[in-house]
């Protein structure tokens, strides 16, 4: 093992280009992550032809660096513009943007960056030390377990929101309902498409969240008569102090562990990891009502989880040759074209490749800290421009980005429609978090439940009695009850009786920042 690391290091030292590639790919990745619609997958796919210029190890290092960078990059635009640059950053916008609006953009970016690096390093360490056993553990997760995991995440909507349980449930169910549009995943029959071939692909998650967040925000800003809303001024990225860091240590640890494991599950990646971690952060918090109003843990949880999931999703790729996420699926394709046969023997046949990637990912995560501070600063320059220019630019960027993902004009229409939906939800006080949790986790729950039922010959009891699935489902029921109880208590307790918008937490309101 140690010998393999020495060999890999010797290889990298002998090919200094590897270090250049890692640095360049992190920058490229952050840029792709930060621009709405240009996701990490696009960033990796675009670089595949360039990997032909290098040997397979150098090529894979290039792709892994992009993956690491893009997963953090999405948080920059999520925090500064309420526009998740990539789907895995959707949760980050929920608390990052309110924090930025409070005048603490720099702090929010700092938390995102530090959490990303911690999660990323954690995930890489798990990858280095535990890849084969983790891959075996992931194989124990069948459809029933995926279903239970998704349900556990979905039940957190009972704890989210401040005041109205009903509104949270309505928003969550709306998300679940929207997720059913398109071809039935098992039978291939069209559902709720109303004869439109554009709706056959369903409501894409990326167009929907970009609409709900970015476009709705632009609409919101335009509709505000108060022109002093340009509160996001303090953007010099500040890493959290040790005290602030220690305050989120449990969240960081829990989210990193969850992220690494969920990343290792084939077919689900950083986005699911971020959502489940956010759900868990809300559930375990002593003040869940603050989530969505600019809670630091609401940034730390998804950001540490999605970066941990990067290392996690490399586990099945390198240990078994099965991609753990959509981005690693593209990497797998790239490896194959290079004549590398991914599979359990990869570690023995190509130790230098595997161990170089371990080292490279570690370096990429550390470099991300350095580059991330700079990158956020440059992005923040945009904020100096008047919103009359920035707003329309965001809309145009979102439209191009959404189209770029799948070259599908219908996605632009979906994005625009969901802008209106998001605007309406916010106006009426329905929690956006519940809506997008339903939208993201709903399809996973649906498909895996139906796969599970085929496997058990339509026997629900068999699913409930599987040890992991049963336990997770039991926890879901308990947390649902506890969440509803907590909401009930908060509503009838002292603060904010019947109010849909309680005062934000007692944060320091900076001069120039808006009060509520």
């Amino acid at each position: 093992m140690l010998e393999a690391y020495v060999d890999a290091l010797a290889y990298m030292a002998g090919n200094p280009i590897t270090f250049v590639l890692i640095a360049a790919s992190v920058v490229w990745g952050i840029a792709f992550g930060a621009v709405p619609g240009l996701t990490g997958i696009v960033g990796v796919a675009l670089l595949i032809p360039f990997t032909f210029l290098f040997d397979p190890t150098e090529g894979l290092l290039l792709l892994a660096g992009v993956y690491v960078g893009s997963t953090f990059g999405g948080s920059i635009s999520a925090i500064l513009f309420n526009t998740p640059g990539s789907p895995e950053a959707a949760c980050t916008a929920l608390d990052g943007y309110p924090m930025a609006k409070r005048g603490e953009a720099g702090k929010a970016l700092g938390i995102a960056l530090a959490s990303s690096a911690i999660g990323g390093v954690f995930g890489t360490i798990v990858l280095m030390l535990l890849a084969p056993p983790m891959a075996q553990l992931a194989l124990q997760f069948g459809p029933a377990e995926y279903f239970a995991l998704a349900v556990l995440g979905i039940t957190a909507i009972a704890s989210i929101g401040s005041g109205s349980i009903l509104k949270g449930l309505v928003a969550g169910l709306l998300g679940l309902a929207v997720a059913t549009v398109g071809l039935d995943p098992i039978t291939g029959m069209p559902r709720y498409t109303f004869g439109s071939s554009e709706l056959l692909t369903g409501i894409g998650f990326v167009p929907a969240i970009i609409g709900v967040f970015a476009l709705a925000e632009v609409l919101q800003r335009v509709s505000e008569s108060d022109r002093s809303a340009d509160a996001i001024t303090n953007v010099s990225t500040k890493l959290p102090s040790l005290a602030e860091f220690m305050a989120t240590r449990y969240t960081l640890l829990r989210s990193s562990a969850l992220g690494s494991f969920i990343g290792a599950l084939p077919g689900v990646g950083a986005t699911t990891a971020a959502f489940i971690s956010y759900s868990e952060a809300v559930r375990w918090s002593r003040r869940p009502e603050r989530f969505g109003t600019g809670e630091p843990e609401g940034i730390a949880a998804p950001e540490s989880a999605n970066n941990a999931a990067v290392g996690g999703s490399m586990i099945p790729l390198l240990a078994l040759g099965i991609p753990g996420s959509a981005t690693t699926a593209v990497m797998l394709g790239g490896l194959t074209i290079h004549g590398i046969v991914p599979g359990p023997l990869l570690m023995q046949q190509n130790p230098i490749l595997v161990f170089s990637v371990f080292i490279g990912m570690m370096l990429a995560n550390l470099l991300m800290l350095v580059i991330g501070i700079r990158a956020a600063r440059y992005f923040a320059l945009v904020l100096r421009a008047p919103y009359a220019l920035v707003g329309p630019a965001i809309v145009v960027m979102c439209m191009t980005g959404v189209y770029a993902i799948n070259s599908n004009v219908a996605d632009i229409a979906i994005m625009l429609a969901f802008g209106v939906v998001g605007f309406g939800l916010r106006r009426l006080g329905y929690p956006i978090a519940c809506f997008i949790i339903g939208l993201v986790l709903g399809p996973i729950a649906e498909v895996s439940l139906r796969q599970g039922l085929i496997l058990s010959d339509r026997d629900f009891v068999e699913i409930l009695t599987r040890p992991i699935a049963g336990t997770l489902l039991l926890l879901s029921v308990l947390s649902l009850l506890y969440g509803i109880y907590g909401q009930y208590r908060r509503k009838n307790g002292g603060q904010g009786l019947g109010s849909a918008n309680p005062a934000p937490p007692a944060a320091k309101v900076r001069a120039g920042g808006e009060g509520t």
Partner: protein, 319 residues
């Protein structure tokens, strides 16, 4: 009279178009050609376009750029292709999935000009290392004893894999229940023992076959694969199941035949290059993959349409 004028006009236009086409064919292709496909980036079709695209670019100077438009059973990808001009700079990657969509009445293959069939893959049934089934006969016996109890992992729903399993069930009577997954989950659920077996081509499963984690039981081809000499074909067992996934390129039916000829020559040459041959061998694609030109390929497609329509009718998908 009017008709005669019309005919003359059409003929003149046709000649003019041919003349222009011939002139254009001189410097065609002069910019990258986009290849639309309905599968994910990194999948078999995406890899096929990239692998053939590399020598193709060396030969013609123009790159082949895969454009992935996923989901919706391939209809959005097809619709996108149809909306683009027939100027020779957009191709469609086609496979049995288009034939199935044609048989189901969702698209019309007559709107396509077949260009070249490059790959012709062969599927396998694979079981995990700890499976009780050592041979295909044992599996058939178990499936016949309790029809539908064995679960086979497939990719996609109501597509190529489903049709192969349907044909297998009809031919053998050893009924299997198919469970659609994404390709990664299909493998993990097979290795983890959630399903009893899976249907996959040799290339993507090669790493796990070589490590012994997956055991191939039967191959759907006319002849045994030289890399897997001990694995019988379904034909040997008396079952006519040879449906394989082929990967090919098509143009608009109104495309310029001169351009088609240029493209076909370049693709046929690219398929003979060393880099592509190496790729083919790595994926065990070399056994049935004879490059078919436009005419032979059209005949092949007509035959495939007949076969798939028949199977889908027997399965009750087509009335």
């Amino acid at each position: 009279m009017l008709n005669a004028i019309k005919a003359a006009g059409l003929a003149a236009t046709g000649i003019a178009a041919l003349a222009v086409g011939a002139a254009q064919a001189q410097d065609y292709p002069s910019s990258p050609i986009e290849v639309i496909h309905e599968y994910g980036p990194g999948g078999g079709t995406d890899r096929f376009i990239r692998a053939i695209g590399e020598p193709f670019e060396t030969i013609t100077g123009a790159a082949l750029v895969p454009i992935s438009i996923q989901g919706g059973g391939g209809i959005p990808a097809y619709a996108n292709f149809q909306q683009r001009p027939a100027d020779g700079y957009t191709l469609l990657a086609i496979s049995p999935d288009q034939v199935i969509n044609h048989a189901l009445g969702r698209i019309d293959m007559g709107e396509l000009m077949p260009l070249a069939r490059v790959q012709y893959d062969q599927g396998l049934f694979l079981v995990p290392a700890d499976s009780p089934f050592e041979t295909i006969e044992e599996l058939i016996e178990a499936a016949k004893a309790d029809p539908g109890s064995l679960k086979v992992g497939i990719t996609g729903s109501a597509g190529f894999d489903d049709t192969v399993i349907g044909l297998w069930n009809l031919e053998t009577g050893a009924e299997l229940t198919s469970v659609p997954f994404g390709s990664a989950e299909m493998v993990s659920n097979t290795l983890g023992g959630q399903v009893d077996l899976m249907h996959e081509e040799y290339g993507p499963a090669r790493g796990l076959i070589e490590s012994g984690d997956l055991r191939p039981l039967v191959v759907f081809s006319e002849e045994r694969l030289p890399v897997l000499p001990d694995v019988p074909t379904a034909v040997e067992l008396g079952f006519d199941v040879t449906l394989g996934r082929w990967r090919a390129l098509a143009m608009h039916d109104t495309a310029d035949p001169a351009q088609a000829a240029v493209l076909f020559d370049a693709i046929a040459e690219a398929a003979q290059t060393e880099s592509y041959k190496k790729f083919e061998e790595d994926s065990a694609l070399q056994y049935r993959s004879v490059v078919l030109g436009p005419e032979e390929f059209q005949a092949f497609i007509d035959k495939e349409i007949a076969v798939y329509t028949d199977v889908l009718e027997q399965l009750g998908y087509v009335q």
